[in-house]
């Protein structure tokens, strides 16, 4: 059994949810409002001038799955990294460390909470997509699987950086210099097929591209690369980052003296 202390694990998930909803103006509403702004400015405004999108969808409809991925990635990383770092900084993480909770129960607690939070945010934005640009996923299983994999990946990265960081500023390094730039050029706003051939080749080295492409597939049923390739890349990255976060926690890295 991976989880022995089921109640302990569930309590940690619940605690993370309590935390999320006690800072709802920081976690839930910003991604929703930002998405609304993107949809109105780029999707319905400037986007009305953009034609010939893949799968015959409008630009605003093309934009929605990319924006969901953008917010899921950003919020999942931010929340798990700040929760772990704050727990270290305030020593409240010691409540978990002295309890009969294993490293995997702790990591799964943070990751499952991250996945639940990600799906909640995604569903809110999906509802906006339905109301304002009349688009909904056509493949709900792929929708959920992709969000879950991305949540595992970025919750794990959040834990890793929450453990590595010596001050709050450090956890912003990954967001500022890697996540945001790579997501923006990873296909949120443009299809790879609309880019020059050289840029298309460079895009294949951007991991965010596979996440966005896989997720957009759940809406449009088409992708720039084969779905199996995208899911494989995301799965491998999720497994590797989860394993690193687990190893760091199991060895007590910056947690146990």
């Amino acid at each position: 059994m991976i989880i022995v202390n089921t109640v302990g694990f569930e309590t940690l998930v619940k605690r993370e949810m309590v935390r999320t909803f006690s800072i709802i103006n920081q976690v839930i509403w910003p991604p929703v409002i930002q998405t609304l702004l993107y949809v109105f400015v780029f999707g319905l405004g400037l986007g009305s001038q953009i034609k010939n999108m893949p799968a015959g969808v409008s630009y605003a409809q093309f934009l929605i799955p990319g924006l969901i991925m953008l917010q899921v990635i950003d919020q999942t990383y931010s929340e798990s990294s700040s929760s772990v770092f704050q727990g270290r900084f305030m020593n409240s993480i010691q409540e978990l460390l002295i309890a009969p909770l294993s490293a995997i129960e702790m990591i799964l607690g943070y990751v499952v909470a991250g996945a639940v939070r990600a799906i909640f945010i995604a569903l809110l934005i999906t509802a906006l997509g339905l109301v304002f640009v009349h688009t909904v996923p056509t493949n709900w299983a792929l929708y959920v699987v992709t969000i879950a994999l991305v949540a595992v990946l970025f919750s794990s990265l959040g834990i890793i950086f929450g453990l590595l960081a010596e001050k709050f500023d450090h956890i912003a390094v990954l967001t500022t210099f890697f996540i945001t730039p790579l997501v923006f050029v990873g296909g949120v706003f443009t299809s790879a097929s609309q880019l020059p051939a050289l840029v298309q080749k460079i895009l294949l080295f951007n991991p965010m591209f596979y996440m966005i492409d896989s997720f957009r597939y759940s809406y449009t049923g088409v992708g720039d690369v084969p779905l199996a390739l995208s899911l494989t890349v995301v799965t491998v990255l999720a497994v590797v980052s989860f394993a690193v976060a687990l190893r760091m926690t199991a060895t007590g890295f910056k947690l146990r003296m």
Partner: protein
């Protein structure tokens, strides 16, 4: 478990941080039901020893067992036996104080109506019931101390470790906490106390261990240790060597 198994057994415990040895081969037992004082000057190794007992510090060498359960090999069962009231407040700032207790019980694998009733009973007992829905930052220093003790007790541990439980509290509250601790001990809970207030150890503890630069320099019943003098004289003599 029978009475012969100690509540705590520390056997040749060593804890090193790089080249620095914080705890240098100490060994002692604490019997079930005992009120044990662990004293020493700042930096002597008291908190490191406590951290090793509760799993907050890795053990470099030696072993620790709680009621017969090794804290490394049988860590889950060992951790269920012990509750910690740390020196620094480390409550979850997102939970009200009733939930601080209920969530802590949850981490120990306990939930349900019985936990809620126990949380309410502890809040009542520690005179915190009127603050149940507030976050800990709204509490006074004395209330935070009492909450820390209540949290350490929520999963009904057989051993409670109190790291400087009366640091920074006024005389009235200190006497109140002493009364609570005596009652707890009378009801069968084993207590390990670290304190810089020597009169507190003298008043409460059955037996005292004194640590100096990571080594145990005294381990005796309080009466024998004091003899005809005072604990302060003994303490200063042992720790000035």
């Amino acid at each position: 478990m029978n009475g012969a198994i100690p509540a705590l057994r520390i056997d040749r415990l060593v804890k090193r941080y790089g080249d620095f040895t914080a705890v240098d081969g100490i060994s002692f037992d604490v019997r079930e039901g005992e009120f044990f004082g662990l004293l020493g000057p700042n930096g002597a190794g008291k908190t490191t020893t406590i951290n090793a007992i509760v799993g907050l510090a890795h053990i470099t060498d030696g072993s620790i067992s709680l009621f017969g359960y090794d804290v490394v090999r049988d860590w889950r069962r060992a951790r269920r036996q012990v509750g910690l009231a740390p020196q620094e407040y480390n409550f979850d700032r997102y939970l009200n104080i009733r939930d601080v207790l209920i969530f802590q019980a949850g981490y120990y694998g306990i939930r349900g109506k019985a936990v809620q009733q126990r949380a309410d009973m502890l809040l009542e007992r520690f005179d915190l019931a009127s603050k149940a829905k507030q976050v800990y930052t709204k509490l006074s220093g004395g209330m935070k101390r009492r909450l820390s003790l209540a949290r350490a007790l929520i999963h009904e541990p057989r051993l409670v470790i109190l790291d400087e439980p009366t640091a920074g509290v006024d005389v009235e509250l200190r006497l109140e906490l002493w009364s609570l601790l005596r009652e707890l001990n009378t009801n069968g809970t084993t207590i390990i106390l670290t304190t810089h207030y020597l009169e507190e150890a003298e008043e409460l503890c059955d037996r005292i261990g004194i640590i100096q630069t990571g080594k145990l320099v005294a381990l005796e019943t309080t009466q024998k240790l004091i003899g005809d003098g005072s604990l302060q004289d003994v303490f200063l003599e042992l720790t000035r060597r």
